[in-house]
C-alpha cells in the first residue's frame, strides 16, 4: 500500500541556497499546464535527483495548493523519490512473467551483492514490458533482458560492492 504523510526515510541535509530559487523558477514555468502538480514534482526529480523536504513549501506556494496536497502526491507515486539517488541503481522486475523465468534468483543475487550498499540501490519493479525476454531489469536506467545472476555480474563489472 502507498504511504501516507511524510517519508519515513531520514530527512536529507538542508538544501543548498540556490535550490529554492531553481525549484521556484521551474514550478513557475510549468504552472500554466493543466494539472501541473505531478509534472512539477517529476521535473524536480529529473533535474535535482529527488524532491527535498524544503522543496515542498516552494511548490505549494507557486501552485497555490496546500503543503498537504504536495505531500499527498509525493507519497503516492513510487517514482517521486525523496532522498538523493545513489551512484548506481538496479531495478529488477519481480512480476509474474519474469518470475516464471527465474527472476527471484537474480533478485536474491543482487540483494546479496549490494544489500546495505550506499553506492548501489537495488529496487523491485513490476513489469517493464519485456516479459517475453525476462528476467528483465533496468541498470542505471538502461533496459536489459534475459538477466541471470551471471549476466548481471558481467553487466555491472567494476561497480562498487
Amino acid at each position: 500500500m502507498r504511504q501516507r504523510g511524510p517519508s519515513p526515510a531520514p530527512a536529507p541535509a538542508p538544501a543548498d541556497p540556490g535550490r529554492a530559487a531553481a525549484v521556484r523558477a521551474l514550478a513557475e514555468g510549468m504552472a500554466p499546464m493543466r494539472g501541473p502538480l505531478l509534472p512539477v514534482l517529476q521535473a524536480v526529480v529529473e533535474q535535482h535527483g529527488f524532491v527535498h523536504d524544503d522543496d515542498v513549501p516552494v511548490v505549494a506556494d507557486v501552485l497555490n495548493v496546500s503543503r498537504a496536497d504536495v505531500l499527498g502526491v509525493l507519497s503516492f507515486y513510487h517514482d517521486l523519490r525523496r532522498t538523493p539517488p545513489t551512484a548506481h541503481r538496479v531495478a529488477l522486475c519481480r512480476a509474474e512473467a519474469c518470475q516464471a523465468r527465474g527472476a527471484e534468483a537474480t533478485v536474491a543475487s543482487a540483494s546479496d551483492r549490494w544489500g546495505g550498499s550506499t553506492d548501489v540501490e537495488v529496487g523491485e519493479v513490476f513489469c517493464l514490458g519485456n516479459c517475453a525476454l525476462g528476467p528483465a531489469g533496468m541498470l542505471d536506467g538502461a533496459l536489459h533482458g534475459r538477466l541471470t545472476p551471471e549476466r548481471l555480474d558481467v553487466l555491472t563489472e567494476g561497480w562498487p560492492a
Partner: protein
C-alpha cells in the same frame, strides 16, 4: 553499394543488444534503418538485410557477428530465417493493428501514408461525427484494456454530452505483467495511435487529447513524443487537422510508477496532477471525466484499431472474430515460453494454439504447468483448459478473463501457492488505499495463505481465505481488489497440493462456499 540493414529499435530488441548491433553495422559500412520489432521476440535482435527477394532475417545477432553476417557466412546456418514476411510465425497471423509494426521506420510519416496510414482519418473528415461513431459501433470494437466495453457506445455518450470542452485520453499505462503490445505498437507505429485518437476527437467533438504513458517505458515515451512533433509539423495535429479547419491538440503525459493509475478514474486523477486514487462511479468519465468534462478513455489498442475501421468500414472489421468478440486481438506470449512475442489473430483462437503452436511450449523444455491469462488479476489455467477459445464471454464463463491479451506460461517448477501469495502481495503493494477490502484484505490475504502453507489450522484458514476472497470480490471499489481473488482461487482450485491441501479437501471447501473459485461476478473490471 552499401547493404541496407534493418535493426529494431524496439525496447525488447535493445534490451538484448540491438543498439550495439546497429552501431557495429554502421561502422562496417552498412546503411542502417531502425524499425519496430516484428514481435518474434525470441529471435531478437532480428536483423533484416534487404535483398531482391525481400528482407532476409538473421536471428539473435550479436555485435561481434556483423562481419560474418555481411559476408554471407550466416546464410547457410539456422541463424538465417529466410525472408521475414514469409516466416510461418507471421503468415499464420492476421495483422491488422500491427500491420506496419516492424515493417516501417516508426516516425516516418511518408512511409506511414504509403502503407495505408491516414486513410481512416481522411475518410472520417468527410463524414458527420454521428456517422463516424456509427462506423465504430458497427465494427463491434470493444475496449482492449480489459473490460471489453463497446467503444461505439462510449463515444456516442461523449458525442451527445453537452460541453464546450471534451477530452480524448489514451490509457497507455499497460501495467499488467505479460503485456507489452501497447508499448510495441507505440514504439513500432505511433502514428496509428495518433490517427486513432484524432478520429475519436473528430467523432466526439473533443479538441484536446492526452496519452498517459507509463514511466517504465522510456523508449516508447521518446518515440511517441517524436511522432507527435512530426504530426504537428505536417498538420496532422494542431489548429487545422489535415487542412479541415478542425482543431486537435495532443500531449504525452508520463506516469510516476503506480499500477493503479491504469484504472481509468485513477488515471484521470493522475492526469489532473493528483494522487492516483480511484473515483467512485457514477459519474462515468464519458460524462464527467478529466477536469469534470466529457472524456473518451480508451486503451492504446482500442484507439489503434480505429483507423482501419474507418478506412475499410465497420462491417469489414465486424466480419472478423467470433461471437460478441469482433475483430482481432493482439495476444502476447510471455514468461517461460520457447517462442515469446506478439500474435495478432481473430478472436476465437484457442489457448492451445497460442501456447503450443505459436509458443512452442516452455523455454525450459519442461512440461507446461499453468498459464496466467489477462495479467496479474487473471486466472491461472492448467493445460486441461487449453481448448478454451479466446473470447470475452467464454473466458468469463470459465472463471477467467482475456484482459489485455497477455498469456504468461509457467513450467512444472511453478509453485501455485507462492503465486497466489504473490497476487495478494502485489495487491497490497499497489492498492490505492481508498477502500478497506482491498487495502486491508490483501495484507490479511498474504498472512492467511502463509498460515495455510505452513499447515497452521489449515481447515479454518481455508474457510477464512474464501471468506476474504468473497469480501474483496464483492466489497472493493474497483477491480484491483475485486479481481485479486481470481488468481488466488484458480491456483487453489487447480493445485491445492501447492498449498499443502489434499485435492479432496479443497473440493469440499470450494463446494461449501457460495462464491466458488469459478465465480467472476462482482468487481468485474469496469
Amino acid at each position: 553499394m552499401n547493404p541496407v540493414v534493418w535493426v529494431p529499435a524496439d525496447a525488447a530488441a535493445v534490451s538484448v543488444g540491438a543498439d550495439e548491433v546497429a552501431a557495429a553495422l554502421e561502422a562496417a559500412g552498412a546503411t542502417v534503418r531502425r524499425n519496430g520489432s516484428r514481435g518474434m521476440l525470441w529471435l531478437e535482435p532480428l536483423v533484416e538485410v534487404e535483398t531482391d527477394a525481400g528482407r532476409v532475417g538473421y536471428a539473435n545477432v550479436g555485435a561481434h557477428e556483423v562481419d560474418p553476417l555481411l559476408g554471407g557466412v550466416l546464410d547457410d546456418t539456422d541463424r538465417c530465417v529466410g525472408v521475414v514476411d514469409e516466416h510461418p510465425w507471421l503468415t499464420g497471423q492476421h495483422r491488422v493493428s500491427f500491420a506496419r509494426v516492424g515493417v516501417i521506420e516508426p516516425t516516418d510519416l511518408a512511409a506511414y501514408r504509403a502503407h495505408g496510414g491516414l486513410a481512416g482519418l481522411e475518410r472520417a473528415l468527410t463524414l458527420d461525427p454521428a456517422d463516424v461513431v456509427r462506423e465504430v459501433t458497427d465494427s463491434g470494437l470493444r475496449g482492449r484494456g480489459g473490460a471489453g466495453f463497446p467503444a461505439g457506445i462510449k463515444w456516442e455518450t461523449v458525442r451527445t454530452a453537452r460541453s464546450d470542452t471534451k477530452f480524448v485520453c489514451c490509457n497507455a499505462d499497460e501495467g499488467d505483467s505479460g503485456t507489452f503490445a501497447d508499448r510495441m505498437l507505440i514504439e513500432g507505429d505511433p502514428f496509428t495511435l495518433v490517427e486513432g485518437m484524432t478520429i475519436a476527437a473528430l467523432a466526439t467533438g473533443a479538441t484536446e487529447g492526452f496519452v498517459y504513458l507509463r514511466s517504465e517505458y522510456p523508449h516508447a515515451i521518446r518515440t511517441l513524443r517524436r511522432a507527435v512533433e512530426v504530426a504537428y509539423a505536417h498538420g496532422v495535429l494542431g489548429g487545422s487537422v489535415l487542412g479541415s479547419g478542425r482543431r486537435f491538440d495532443l500531449e504525452v503525459r508520463v506516469g510516476a510508477g503506480a499500477y493503479i493509475c491504469g484504472e481509468e478514474t485513477s488515471m484521470l486523477e493522475s492526469l489532473e496532477g493528483k494522487r492516483g486514487e480511484v473515483r467512485a462511479k457514477p459519474p462515468i468519465p464519458a460524462l464527467e471525466g478529466l477536469f469534470g468534462m466529457p472524456t473518451v478513455v480508451n486503451n492504446v489498442l482500442t484507439l489503434s484499431a480505429v483507423p482501419m475501421v474507418l478506412a475499410d468500414g465497420g462491417a469489414a472489421y465486424a466480419a472478423l472474430g467470433t461471437g460478441r468478440s469482433r475483430g482481432t486481438q493482439v495476444f502476447q506470449l510471455a514468461g517461460n515460453v520457447a517462442r515469446g512475442g506478439v500474435v495478432e489473430a481473430d478472436f476465437g483462437i484457442s489457448l492451445r494454439e497460442l501456447v503450443e503452436q505459436y509458443g512452442g511450449g516452455t523455454a525450459s523444455g519442461r512440461p507446461v504447468k499453468a498459464v496466467q491469462v489477462g495479467g496479474p488479476l487473471g486466472a491461472y489455467l492448467p493445460p486441461s483448459r487449453f481448448d478454451l477459445p479466446m473470447d470475452y464471454e467464454a473466458f468469463a464463463e470459465a472463471g477467467a478473463m482475456v484482459g489485455h491479451g497477455g498469456v504468461v506460461v509457467f513450467d512444472d517448477s511453478m509453485d501455485a501457492g507462492a503465486m497466489a501469495r504473490f497476487a495478494m502481495e502485489f495487491c497490497a503493494k499497489e492498492s490505492c488505499g481508498k477502500c478497506t477490502p482491498c487495502r486491508v484484505g490483501s495484507t490479511r490475504g498474504v498472512e492467511v495463505i502463509d498460515r495455510i502453507r505452513a499447515g497452521t489450522q489449515r481447515e479454518s484458514n481455508l474457510v477464512l481465505l474464501e471468506d476474504l476472497c468473497a469480501t474483496m470480490t464483492k466489497g472493493s471499489l474497483c477491480a484491483m481488489g475485486g479481481l485479486t481473488p481470481m488468481p488466488v482461487r484458480s491456483a487453489l482450485e487447480h493445485w491445492p497440493e501447492d498449498f499443502g491441501v489434499s485435492p479432496a479437501a479443497a473440493d469440499a471447501t470450494t463446494d461449501a462456499m457460495p462464491e466458488s473459485a469459478t465465480s467472476t461476478t462482482g468487481g468485474a473490471r469496469p
